[in-house]
Amino acid sequence: MYTANMLKSMARVEETRERRLQEKFPRLGPDEKDELLRRFHPDFREDTQRPVKVGPNAGDRMPHELVDLLEARSVVEPGAVDLDEPDYDVDVLVIGGGGAGAAAALTAHAHGADVLLVTKLRLGDANTMMAQGGIQAADKPNDSPVIHYLDVMGGGGFTNRPELVRALTADAPLVIRWLEELGCMFSKEADGTMMTIHGGGTSRKRMHFARDYTGAEIMRTLRDELLNRGINVVEFCAALELVLDDGGRCAGAVLQNLETGRLLVARARTTILATGGFGRIHVSGFPTSNHYGATADGLVMAYRAGARLVYLDATQFHPTGVAYPEQMLGQLVTEKVRGLGAQLVNAEGEQFVFPLETRDAVSAAIIRECFERGRGFVTETGQHGVWLDSPMIERIHGPGTVRAELPAMFRQYERFGIDMSSQPILIYPTLHYQNGGVEIDEFGRCPQVPGLYVAGEAAGGIHGRNRLMGNSLLDILVFGRRAGAHAAGEVSRIGLSRPTLDHVARFNREVEAAGLGRITAPILLPDYVRR
């Protein structure tokens, strides 16, 4: 339910709507965009980051909240765990039960490996489930993996690792085909043609979707298939540390049953880390669109095992997080709303940015509009925001479109008395995605730690410093499948020697020598308990 002040500001948005329907706000030029990002994007502010003091990336700047975890002591006492009597002994250990982990486990299993998947929450409890917008793949006649490649590189500011982008764009149609065969219900025309639309930074309409439950539809399909295949899945079982053998090869992990607290050991010839991102550590104090479990555990574990991290100074703020109502603060309003024609409008009812600029630019433009130009709307709780003129969708595509195309969004707002098909919604950037992660090669291998693979949001380099919409659902499946296939293929060649946690003991000593380590990590879950 909107307050009287909000209704007053909304009236201006309504007044200008007919005129704005004809208006096309100019796109930013390259220099203009650089300047906007430098001045207003949180990544570029002096006070949000610091160099990490220990480990493989010592000296590199990253957000304070992440550095705190990388400079923490282990939650595991290395000498106190008996690694010689493992509770599980498998070919492939997959850590994480989101889209990347599920794709990796299914693929490794299909290649004949004995697979164990552990996840600290339920299978499918992950950001994958929440991705509403879509998944990119160049499968239309006017498109090609090469054009997709160019879009991805440009979106990432040409900082992406080229070989990873090549894998991403060339595998994309293969992934869509795989999902189609698994019975994933993409939105299609009557003749079977995939419905596709634009997303921010795309030069072709290649965003595939399953109504506005794309991620949920993919995740529930993969979950169903994992259960059908009889793959061993252990829920509420978190990984605390990776285990290395005395030759430095990854040999499994120390796990914890989160309900009993008991430690378990999994021995594995190959290990695939698919633990997701860091939204729930609330970088720079931003609200987040992320899942409850997004606490950077995989980064912490891999770092102690010697893995290098890349681009973790680049954080993606999704420009359209919910700013009102308070109960939905930080939740995502899918980019599809803009894809369908809704404009971003300030408190005076005027556009201030082309709605489908890349996410970093739109976020920076909103922050500028609110704080430098003072033309945002401020709610009674002090939350700034601008209007996303969702009723335009009905004007452009006809009455009922919002409800038909965005049922999830519509329903969420409806619960709090807001009809987004006739009323604009108030939004502000929300912490959405970890652009960087553990360095990988095109098979998902971590170059510094043999036997360790990383897939999904935990991996870095694919998107460079900025990811485009629809390339995350894609990357988790491309690299989940690649890691799963490669890991399974390696199994017969690998012999493990004595398992150790010496690297953890070493890291603890390094942390202590630097006068750090007052806290422990991984943290596994955020702490929202009121003290």
């Binding site: 929440m130 160049a138 160019l150 590189m153 019975g183 929202y528 009121r530």
Partner: protein, 228 residues
């Protein structure tokens, strides 16, 4: 800016009373009360179905269910979360199924036990007409079930309240997978592109782009044509 003191309401979590600010969701109210959730919290945005909750409101004998992340507390509410529900899921190989009534009945033989009581529809936090899609399932209308159940988040609240012990959400995903695999026409342009990729049609050009000098790539990017 000083926040005004929030108005408090009393809720009872598993029988114990707590004072919490009005307007909080059940999930946030539990955290406000001191619970650090392990089970019963997920996406916190109404997409994952992790936080099914049973509750009763003041002066009402009826038991209600909802998602803790989407349901706002009321004064005098009694509640408990459902951490897990041991409902049956049929195991199958999709490649060997036929999309029709016989398959649904073989995998979920309890299907015709539906009493038509409409409880499932009444409790669905997604507002899905669950009983309607179950009726379609009993007629073998796989496409209808797929369409009508699409917004299901598989929270299982329907099954938790069903007197006939149906597992509606698992029938629904079976129907969706059958529909998408067998009844929706395959995307021909996709099959064609997959064939081209497997034949290596794009390898050379991609290799050239991978090797390309960033300045050159940037020029191509800025000059690229954008589909209207």
């Amino acid at each position: 800016m000083a926040q005004p003191e929030p108005e408090l309401v009393t809720i009872h979590i598993m029988g114990k009373g707590y004072r919490v600010p009005k307007g909080l969701t059940i999930m946030k109210a539990m955290e406000y009360s001191g619970y650090r959730l392990i089970r019963g919290a997920g996406c916190r945005g109404g997409f994952c179905g992790a936080c099914g909750t049973v509750y009763r409101t003041k002066g009402d004998w009826r038991l209600k269910v909802g998602l803790a992340c989407q349901t706002v507390v009321e004064d005098g509410m009694y509640l408990t979360q459902i951490p897990f529900y041991p409902a049956n899921k049929a195991v199958y190989d999709l490649a060997e199924l036929k999309p029709g009534l016989a398959t649904l009945l073989r995998l979920y033989p309890e299907l015709p036990r539906c009493l038509g009581c409409n409880t499932c529809t009444r409790v669905c936090p997604q507002g899905i007409d669950v009983m309607d899609y179950m009726a379609r399932a009993m007629r073998g209308d796989v496409a209808g079930v797929a369409d009508r159940s699409f917004d299901c988040i598989m929270c299982g609240l329907c099954a938790s309240r069903c007197p006939a012990e149906e597992v509606q959400y698992n029938v629904a995903i079976l129907a969706r997978r059958l529909y998408a695999r067998y009844l929706a026409p395959p995307a021909r342009h996709l099959a064609e592109r997959v064939r081209e990729i497997e034949e290596g049609r794009y390898d050379e050009e991609l290799d050239r782009f991978v090797q390309m000098d960033p300045a050159e790539l940037k020029k191509l990017y800025n000059a690229r044509d954008i589909e209207a």
